[in-house]
Structures are given as structure tokens and as C-alpha cells.
Symmetry: C2
Subunit: 323 residues, 2 copies
Amino acid sequence: MHILIIGAAGMVGRKLTNKLVEEGAADQLTLVDVVTPEAPKGFKGKVAAEAADLAVAGVAEKIVAARPDVIVHLAAIVSGEAEADFDRGYRINLDATRALYEAIRQEGLKSPYKPRLVFTSSIAVFGAPFPDKIGDDYFTTPLTSYGTQKAIGELLLADYSRRGFFDGIGIRLPTVCVRPGKPNKAASGFFSNILREPLAGQEAILPVGEDVRHWHASPRAAVAFLRHAMTMDLTPLGARRNLSMPGLSATVGEQIEALRRIAGEKAVRLIRREPDPVIMKIVSGWPRDFDTKRAAALGFKAESTFDEIIRIHIEDELGGKIG
Amino acid sequence: MHILIIGAAGMVGRKLTNKLVEEGAADQLTLVDVVTPEAPKGFKGKVAAEAADLAVAGVAEKIVAARPDVIVHLAAIVSGEAEADFDRGYRINLDATRALYEAIRQEGLKSPYKPRLVFTSSIAVFGAPFPDKIGDDYFTTPLTSYGTQKAIGELLLADYSRRGFFDGIGIRLPTVCVRPGKPNKAASGFFSNILREPLAGQEAILPVGEDVRHWHASPRAAVAFLRHAMTMDLTPLGARRNLSMPGLSATVGEQIEALRRIAGEKAVRLIRREPDPVIMKIVSGWPRDFDTKRAAALGFKAESTFDEIIRIHIEDELGGKIG
């Protein structure tokens, strides 16, 4: 199987690549990002890693010409940046996505070609006010340009799939927590920072109150969602190709309690409260809880406690040890 | 007030123009369509009527440069045509709409400019299976490229409005019935044909069963929706800028009974049953009924009986007489 990952240099892209190599799921890998992705270690198949910008005319066509069996589209400008730079957000998150879809269609017009396409969407397609739990048929009224661009990517995905140009599925990821590495420009960064930094013996800033509730899944769960989406039977989806993924609804206070149970009071004391009205306002428009019946019935699973989410971080990122 | 109508040569565009002239609502009118719209009779203000294709680079910028106070965007490729010609549908229904929005934003970057923008959407943004009544927070899962393009236009409208580039409202029109004139390429044509043609003494073909239920409003109601949207206070909409309009949920059988009450058995006998599996399949994916609380609370109103809808057709199109 030839698998193409677009956005392969990002956190989820790297973890997904490693997972595929570990599983021996692919005999050919094409890894694309705006910076050249690292070729995975221990992969015995054919691998190509290249830097490319899909928003540039002709680039998507060139990448798709190799006719991968599965395409995972992870590339995106994050929410904070898409909000700060309107043109860039639409160029990368909408135009490049559409260019990819269209390149697949054009390739298929030459001779039959219908790859599996996994599109990474986000719970940012939803915008407050919300019901207690967001159901599978709740409308998408994003409160960011990023969320708008993802919602449009979903609509296009469904239409291109319906027309038979590819076999698409849109995966709405919960906020990924604990996100390893350094903070990116996402306003949601603090949800990870307040766990990751104390676990490494570092201070972290909490810009919101402890009563803030949000929807989380570990990086390991996020990769498992995408992995499942790459090969599962899509027939049960019908024309409704986009799915909110399972996750864990938890308050910041519950996150902190889990940290206390696992790393003790010393770690919790490293969280510094610095309320930030701007971040508080952004976060107040974000989903708090979901009822993800469809995804659950299709075999998608996430963590059920924050203790589990923290333990996964310690296992996968800290070699099993707390710093 | 300077009002720009894009798609002014169409049925709704012409009726809206006449309404605005009748009311003296504008002192300047700019009428645009792919064919040159007729200048309205009896209008004392400044009028410009021009043929233009907004999907061509630079055209939207030129039209918006006159800085109209209100822009009504009606132009679209109908559903049947957008389904038959994928590229043309996306070019006109998506690219041209986005070009218009973007032209307004660019004009505003030169010096402050924030017009009212009324976007004509459609209940085609919804796709079966449905609940008994589609509520205001039901998700948009279109089953046509036309519906997809309209749903994307709605998302962009909300984002551009949220960012302050214009003050937008999206109006999801019910199927307009009785549509005057000749059938267009819309698969929904028969809903009007089976009334309009018999009222004019002509035969009409009914391609579906009498139990088919659908969502209707008269041309007069459709124009009233747009007229209201042009000047109403949009503050109560918040970030949720797109509204399903009120309508009348009726079966084909109920339409025929109303025709019988108003025009007698002779008219009903002109309806010829010719079941068409293709049209039956398309129609089975269409909405049947809505709960339009939000629109009702904001002052939008439609007809409550099909007798009323037929009488409006007789008054507005047939000079009060049945042929």
C-alpha cells in the first residue's frame, strides 16, 4: 500500500508515520510538508520525503500523480495564526485543501483513480452557544476563520466523495492533550502546558479558571483515529462523511487533580494562575462536551480518564519517568 | 440608498427590483446579471443595468467599487445544472460568491466600507435522512453540489461578517411556488408546473407520488424575506448569520386539492401522472418540513395554506383571472 501523508512533519504526522512503519502497514510512503519531513527509521519500503506548498498551482497535481492508495491530509495553519493572518489561513486551510481534492479528481479523469482520503478536521467547526453535549447532527457555526476553513473542507470532502472522486472521511479531532514539544500558536496550548511543563519540572501558566470544561484526546488516540479511518469500511457513513471523534470531557480542575494524583503536589505547585481575558473569551466559544454515538459505533475509541491521558504522555514522551 | 442586485435578471431578482421601485426604497439601483437586466419602469433614481460574470477576475472589484449600501446576491447556477456541470457549478456558485465577498473586503481595506450583504441560500443545504421537522440547529449535509456550494457560501458569509468585512445575512429560501414562466433546470420544477400549467389551461406532468411532502413559499413571500433582510437589525443574529425561512409544508396531494378548490376538477384533470424514478430519487433527499423559530421571531412570514399560494399566483401573474 502506498500512503501519502500531507503535513507529515507535524506532531501528529510524525507519530502517524511511526505507527505505520511499526505496523508494517505500507510498502511505500510519501511524506510531504512545508519543511522536508524526516524519513522514518527502520522503514524497509520505498520512501519519499519532500517539501511542498499545495497552495502553489501545479504542486498538488504533481504529488497526486504517483497515485497513492491512501492520502492523509493533516496540513493546516493553526487557529491562532489563521485568525491573525486572514489571507494565509484561507490560502493554506481552504485553497490548498481544495487544490488537493481537485488534483485527485483530475487524476481520476485521466484514468480511474479513487483513493481513500482522510481529512483532519477539528471541533473548531462548532461555535457557542452549545447544548450540554454536542450531538452528531448539531450544526457547524464556527467562531474562527480556522473553524470556517475546516467546515468548508468537510463540505467539499462530502461532495467529492458523493460524486465518486475519492473515498473520503473527515475526522474532527478533539484538542490533543498532552501535546508534546513546545507551545505552538494555538490558543488551546495551556491545556497541555499545565501538565507537560510541571511533569518536566517546569513552570506553566494557566490563563483561565479551573471550571473551564473542554474536550480532549491523547496524541496516541488521535493517531489511532486516523489509522482506523485509513482502512475502515466507509459504507456505513453514507453521504455523511464527517465525524466528531470520541474524547474526554474534563475541566481544568479535573486535569489538575489528575496531575496531583500522578505527580504530586510539587508538580501542581508549578502551575501559575495568570488570567488572560483574551484567551478566556476565545475558550468560552469552544465545545465542552460531545455525544459521539456515530464514531463510537464505527469503532473509534478515546481515553476515559485524565490519569490515563497523563500516563500516555509519560510513557510515550518521557520514557516512563517523571522529570 | 444605493442597492446592488446581483442576479437581477432572474425571476426573484426582477420581482425584488419592482418591489424596491414601488416602495421608493432606493435612490440608486445597480442591476447585474450574466445577461443585461431590464431597467425597471417608473424608477426616478439613478440606475445602472449591466451584464457581468463575477467569476472573472477583477469583475467583482469593479462592481463593488461604487460602494453600494446594500448588496443582494441572488446569482446562481440552479441545482440540476450544478449537478450536471461540476466545474461550472463551483465556478459560479462558489468562486463568484467568494470573489464578491473578497472584493468587499478589499474595498474596505482601502477605506472603511461595510455594506449589508444578503445572500440567497437554499434548503438544499440539508440532506436526508431528516427528523420530522428540521430545526434551526440541524446540520447541513447537502446531497447535491449546489447544496454544498450554498452551504460554503453560508460559512464564508458568517466568517466575513464576524470579521467585520460586511454585515451579512443568509436567507435559505424554501422552494418557490408557484414559479411563473417556463420550467428551468431545477428538478423541483414540477411543484410549480402542476399548478401553473393547469391554471393556464395547459397539461402538466407529475413525476412523483401524491404523498411527496415539501417546503414551499410564494415568490411574493421570497421577495418579502429578502426585502426584510435588507434593512432589519442583524444584532440578534449574533454569529449565526444563516436562517431557514418560514414556509408551508404540504404534500403534492394537498397542492392538488387546493387547485381543485380554486380552479375545479377541469384543472386537476390536466395533471398527467408520469412517474420518473430519477426525479423521485432526487426529491426523496429533500427536506419536507421545518421548525423555523428563529426566522419567525425575527419577523419573517410565509403563507399558511396552498390556496393562498395559488391565489397569489393568480393575482400577481394572471391579472386575477384563471385561463
